[in-house]
């Protein structure tokens, strides 16, 4: 998606060859008009799918998921992060490793909000190691529901997550795919 790539080049900040800060439009300050365009693009890409629910994970997925849901005309469910040492029988849970924070947390979602007849689009801001998406896919599968696909804002295609999730047979539509970040700047995949 040209608009997102251009915005990354304009406002993103590379830290080394691995970290991309986009906190001025994607995950701390949020440009909702950009999100609306992203929502329209996912709707175009998944036009032939009957999405009944959008699943995302707190916190930075929620804004893009909600605005995309206006296009899909379906509810959003957001997965909660926490230590949740004692998990209730009312929730599905998956362990997710965070490379950013160097810890592992339980991702939980109330069983009421994922049903086996649901066709779920999973939305998140970043795809790198793929841990968060794998966790959310596991939650949908625990419910016996169908994963229609994933909608990602920025994929670091030089990390293994995207390839692994596609290898599970799951469609992934990333609106900007970064091939590499180095001294010559950010290079997107063709």
């Amino acid at each position: 998606m040209k608009l997102l790539e251009e915005r990354i080049l304009k406002d993103g900040r590379m830290i080394g060859t691995d970290i991309l800060k986009v906190d001025n439009f994607l995950n701390h300050q949020l440009d909702v008009n950009l999100f609306a365009e992203m929502g329209k693009e996912w709707k175009r890409l998944y036009a032939n799918e009957e999405v009944t629910k959008i699943l995302t994970i707190e916190a930075s997925g929620i804004g893009i998921a909600c605005i995309a849901a206006l296009e899909f005309q379906c509810p959003v469910v957001f997965v909660k992060k926490g230590s949740h040492k004692y998990l209730s029988d009312d929730v599905y849970s998956a362990q997710i490793r965070s490379f950013t924070h160097g810890n592992t947390y339980n991702a939980i979602v109330d069983k009421k909000f994922l049903k086996k007849e649901d066709k779920v689009l999973i939305i998140d801001d970043f795809l790198a190691s793929g841990e968060a998406l794998h966790g959310m896919i596991d939650l949908v599968e625990q419910a016996g529901a169908k994963v229609v696909g994933c909608g990602v804002a920025i994929e670091k295609a030089f990390q293994p997550g995207g390839a692994e999730i596609r290898a599970r047979g799951i469609r992934v539509e990333s609106l900007a795919r970064i091939a590499r970040m180095d001294e010559s700047g950010i290079t997107f995949c063709d």
Copy 2:
């Protein structure tokens, strides 16, 4: 706001006389069409204010804030919660006590995203003790910016937060104000 009050009566669950669960439309599963109507109502109420930024706090404020921001045509900034033992000079911070979780956390926002020329509408899902709103107001004041007002989805008017914040001279527009919850059910303020 009639629509929200009716939805609370239909889908909210009282737990005792103090707790109201609205996780099926407001803060776990999210009804984005309801959020769109809420956004229009805040826009109507604050039509004469030139809002340059909406401030909210992770996680459950983000969805309603983003959809309201489509009406106000301004960015959202969400305040992050964390222990953040070592605070950087790049952030404003406020300590917020959580009655729900029985702890105190640092609420932080990057100084880049609140400027003294900003006119800030603060949005949150619940107002009860008022701790989160007080903290966000403090962050805006640290930046030397102006608080235009607060937009709250559900106010528990039987708790002191709303009165305290209005006593600070700050406008609060709550779309549903609950006078009491008891054996006869939920009663809204007139």
